[in-house]
């Protein structure tokens, strides 16, 4: 692969978005905005797939590195443009590419301020790719925060319901998360003198951490600052209240991006900094905290699942199920202990895989809810029913997404959850207790998913007092291009479910390197 390909992957959507936003002043482009948006994201998706399969598993490490020294080149404050992907981030870059394309397909029905819409959507995609590939922490932070502006406009202008309230809530919560992140990276910078994450590993801080690292504030505090910042973004109970609102009111494509890749930024941050970076700073912190982290994760799983059961709005339901599923990520991270004791990484591997699979599964679910909503104009579950009769394809894919979400073997969700459970259960003690608790989350997930599918898609039809009753006979199934988006996501889900090594190989390389650094 030629050099600069990763930078191209980051900046191509950004410039394509600006091109759509500004260039569409000319009529020829204005008429074809959606075509251009599809084309650009298709190129982006194909390139990310190409990049993914060109990652050299033999050598591992950071590949496709692009380096530009002179971003902020000062003696006392040095930051550089440095991007590259390793086993941890390559699948997430792939995920962003796939979901970006599906998000554009999901928004082909947008008819209001189109050019701004696609401009922000494409910029969002580029910025998130930047988050997953930055190796310099300040650069990472720049992308991390820059994602806010597109999201704010996308939710508040094209959203529904209390869109402006939800957009502001999203903004404040994410900025808070960014604030924690910024304090954390600056503290690390002034303790180590570098923003580059893999350079910090080479400083050999373990053992000297008592003296060298506590200059600014204790390293435990830095760890917690990062942890809280990422927990808001993930989101983890009790910091999750922004997520259901943002999801419910956001347009379909934004829900896909939000659930599919933006939440993954939190999980990626935890893996990249709280696990990877702190493994080379002071491994005892996570080691000591991990049983409690496991417990919080389990609480988040159960709490999210219980709330999900009572939801009557399809989108809100999937949003709460995301809170539950993100709890597994926290649980998986607590099995960090296992690596130090037993030298195995099922738990962390499962965490990374959960990031990927939840992105595809929830992406598909939101995609289908969006399609359904376009047709029925309501997401209120009691008003729905028997939709599978009129829309068999949407119904089928919805069932697949539901089964994947509840962890049916053969679909990708199962593999990830199993790996996490195996990883944490064998540690015994509070870990095993949390695992047992979380397993009930799977039972609850089966409950709410199946019940939702039954109420909205199965049965003989909608009840007569439902607003959908009038148009029920005219409901159409998905068209070909919409089918394409669903098929892409389903293929990913099934492929990972049947043959997880496509993704886990890379994740395992990434995780293994964390502990060999």
């Amino acid at each position: 692969m030629p050099g600069g390909i990763l930078s191209f992957l980051i900046f191509f959507p950004i410039f394509a978005g600006i091109f759509i936003g500004i260039g569409s002043a000319s009529n020829a482009i204005k008429k074809r905005i959606k075509f251009f948006a599809l084309l650009f994201t298709l190129i982006e998706m194909l390139l990310s797939i190409l990049l993914y399969f060109n990652y050299d598993k033999e050598n591992g490490g950071f590949q496709f590195i692009d380096y530009f020294d002179a971003w902020i080149p000062f003696e006392t404050f040095r930051a550089q443009y440095l991007v590259g992907i390793d086993g941890l981030s390559a699948p997430l870059v792939l995920l962003t590419g796939i979901l970006g394309f599906c998000a554009v397909i999901a928004s082909l029905k947008i008819s209001f301020r189109e050019r701004e819409y696609f401009m922000w959507l494409l910029i969002l995609q580029g910025v998130v790719t930047g988050v997953f590939s930055s190796l310099d922490m300040l650069l990472l932070f720049v992308f991390w925060e820059a994602e806010l502006i597109p999201m704010y406009f996308l939710i508040s202008i094209w959203g529904s319901g209390k869109a402006q309230y939800s957009a502001m809530k999203f903004l404040i919560f994410t900025l808070t998360s960014g604030a924690f992140f910024l304090i954390g990276i600056l503290s690390i910078y002034f303790a180590t003198g570098t923003f580059v994450m893999y350079d910090i590993a080479e400083l050999n801080l373990i053992g000297v951490s008592g003296s060298a690292f506590n200059i600014i504030i204790p390293s435990l505090l830095i760890f917690l600052i990062f942890f809280i910042g990422f927990a808001i973004k993930l989101p983890l109970f009790p910091l999750h209240s922004w997520l259901p609102d943002a999801h419910t009111d956001a347009p379909t494509a934004v829900s896909i991006m939000l659930a599919g890749v933006l939440l993954k930024m939190g999980g990626y941050g935890l893996l990249r900094i709280n696990v990877d970076l702190f493994n080379s700073i002071d491994p005892t912190i996570l080691f000591d905290l991990s049983p409690y982290i496991a417990l919080i994760g389990a609480i988040s799983v159960i709490y999210g699942a219980v709330l999900t059961i009572r939801q009557t709005d399809l989108k809100r339901l999937i949003a709460f199920s995301s809170v539950s599923h993100m709890g597994y990520i926290i649980l998986g991270i607590s099995s960090y202990n296992a690596y130090s004791n037993l030298g195995s990484s099922e738990g962390l591997g499962g965490t990374a895989l959960q990031l990927f699979t939840h992105g595809t599964i929830t992406g598909l679910a939101f995609y289908l809810v969006g399609l359904t909503y376009e047709r029925t104009h309501t997401r209120h579950i009691p008003h729905l029913g028997g939709l599978a009769i009129k829309m068999p394809l949407i119904g089928t894919f919805f069932v697949i997404a539901g089964f994947a979400s509840l962890g049916l073997p053969g679909l990708s969700g199962f593999v990830a959850e199993l790996m996490i459970f195996v990883g944490t259960f064998k540690l015994g003690g509070l870990w095993a207790f949390s695992t047992i608790l979380s397993v009930f989350g799977v039972v609850l997930a089966a409950g709410y998913t199946l019940w939702m599918i039954q109420r909205s898609f199965l049965g003989s039809g909608v009840s007569n007092d439902s607003p959908v009753a009038k148009e029920y006979d005219n409901l159409n199934d998905m068209d070909k291009i919409e089918l394409a988006g669903a098929v892409i996501l389903t293929i990913t889900i099934v492929a990972v479910g049947v043959y997880p090594s496509i993704v886990t190989d890379l994740f395992n390389i990434g995780i293994g390197e964390v502990f060999s650094r």
């Binding site: 000062f74 006392t76 991390w144 502006i149 957009a167 502001m168 600014i216």
Partner: protein, 495 residues
């Protein structure tokens, strides 16, 4: 004696003063044939060119050993850089004067004369190195401003000019009190000599010593007095009323130029006269006034509906951010110094605030009000100007890819590396609070829908200046090196 060559060093100031007279004479002789604001622009441009030539070293003044005049005025690169900034911002103000100046303003030529005199004072402020001269320069900036505030037919103008006058006099008196105490202790008024314990105590600071307590006390008096100019705690109560009631041009001048000049003298004074041991004590006081300014400004701004008032509170908050940098101005070791980041942030804030203010003024002309709710949906009618306004607001908020973010990142870095972790955290918390009101403005402009048509008028000069501002915000936000290296080279002359 002052030689002719030394006079050459202050040609930029002389040009400004000369042109202030030309404006008056031209009004007397030619009447309204020439626009006063354009003559002022011409004068500022001439002065700016000379300053840039001096800064870049194209003009070299031979035959003098030092770059200072009688040790009172030091024309080093630091002062030249800040003069360039002050002049550029003033040039922008006078250029758009034609479009911004309201019909309620009386006596335009007098207004611009006062503007130029005040500007000369600001330029002096950037380069003085002696306390009495600094005080005189400070008065030179304040007194014409009182005149400018009252040259308005609006009802409030007398009230606010009185408010400004009284507080200005009080703060001057407090500064003078501090200066005389320092003079009494040291027998000198030069920045370099006023710290008697610089050598006498071997640099060791003992709190029991009453002399040293007096030094701390007088420094606190001086900083408090300067807080009037930089709109920070404790003398900040005038800001919202004056901003709201005064003509837009004066608000702009107060918020952008006056503030930079005030900070430039404060930085030089604290950097050159105070040694590290004293500084570590005084910086706690600065950190406290910084925190109060930030919290007060940001929390009060949350509930404002008048954009000018909102900007007034935001300007108080930003004074707080800059004070974070000043609190970490001097460092013991080779850690990241606050001074570079402070000067960087000062310039970044000047650019950003100017752009924000000018685009706000431009947009307000379409709705003929400064009430936020009247701006509903203007984003779709005046797209270009609204985008620029939003870019500047995002920069004030400090989102990456804007110069505001880089400034804040440097400021907070300086604080963290100087053991002010809590202060940096306060700064970041305040950025969070400010997100609410900045984004509220952007939301009203872009997300909400307008219920009335907007008039079809254009302001070409405002458009050009704000476009340059927005480009600078983005470019310096992506590549801060360009500005930071200039700042570093300029600061080398006083470090």
């Amino acid at each position: 004696m002052i030689s002719l060559n030394e006079i050459l060093l202050i040609t930029p100031e002389l040009f400004i003063v000369g042109f202030s007279l030309i404006i008056l004479l031209s009004d007397l002789i030619f009447g309204s044939k020439f626009r006063s604001s354009d003559i002022a622009s011409l004068g500022i441009l001439a002065s700016l060119i000379i300053t840039i030539l001096l800064f870049s070293g194209v003009i070299k003044i031979n035959d003098i050993s030092s770059i200072s005049i009688l040790n009172i005025i030091s024309v080093d690169k630091y002062s030249l850089l800040l003069k360039i900034v002050v002049l550029l911002l003033s040039l922008s103000i006078s250029t758009v004067g034609k479009e911004v100046i309201s019909d309620t303003l009386k006596l335009r030529s007098e207004f611009w004369t006062l503007f130029m005199i005040s500007l000369a004072g600001m330029m002096m402020l950037t380069s003085v190195t002696e306390m009495i001269t600094a005080w005189v320069a400070l008065e030179l900036t304040s007194l014409p401003l009182i005149g400018m505030l009252s040259l308005n037919k609006k009802r409030y103008s007398l009230e606010i000019s009185f408010k400004y006058l009284i507080l200005s006099a009080t703060s001057s008196a407090i500064i003078l009190m501090g200066i005389s105490q320092l003079y009494g202790l040291s027998g000198s008024t030069f920045f370099n000599d006023i710290m008697p314990l610089k050598d006498a105590f071997g640099g060791k600071f003992i709190f029991e010593d009453s002399t040293q307590l007096l030094i701390i006390f007088s420094l606190i008096l001086i900083i408090s007095g300067f807080s009037f100019k930089i709109a920070s705690f404790p003398f900040f109560t005038w800001v919202p009323d004056v901003y709201q009631g005064s003509p837009s041009l004066v608000t702009l001048y107060l918020s952008v130029v006056s503030k930079i000049a005030g900070f430039s003298i404060l930085i030089r004074f604290l950097f050159e006269s105070v040694n590290i041991e004293v500084y570590s004590n005084i910086s706690l006081f600065i950190a406290i006034i910084s925190s109060i300014s930030m919290f007060y400004g940001n929390i009060m701004a949350l509930r404002q509906n008048d954009l000018k008032r909102l900007f007034a509170y935001s300007t108080i908050a930003h004074a707080g951010y800059i004070l974070i940098g000043i609190a970490s101005l001097q460092v013991n070791d080779a850690s990241f110094s606050g001074i570079n980041s402070t000067v960087f942030y000062l310039i970044a804030y000047g650019i950003t605030n100017l752009t924000a203010f000018l685009s706000m003024i431009s947009l307000s002309r379409y709705v003929d009000s400064y009430n936020m709710l009247d701006f509903k949906g203007i984003g779709s009618a005046q797209r270009y100007q609204s985008i620029i306004f939003s870019i500047s607001l995002i920069s004030l908020l400090g989102i990456p890819a804007t110069v505001g973010f880089m400034g804040k990142a440097f400021i907070f870095s300086g604080a963290i590396s100087n053991d002010y972790f809590w202060l940096a955290s306060f700064g970041i918390i305040n950025s969070l609070i400010s997100a609410y009101y900045y984004m509220k403005v952007i939301k009203i402009i872009f997300v909400e829908k307008s219920d009335k048509p907007f008039p079809e008028i254009t302001f070409p000069r405002l458009k050009v200046i704000t476009t340059i501002g927005a480009i600078l915000i983005i470019v310096l936000g992506l590549a801060p090196v360009a500005l930071l290296s200039i700042v570093e080279s300029a600061l080398n002359t006083i470090i």
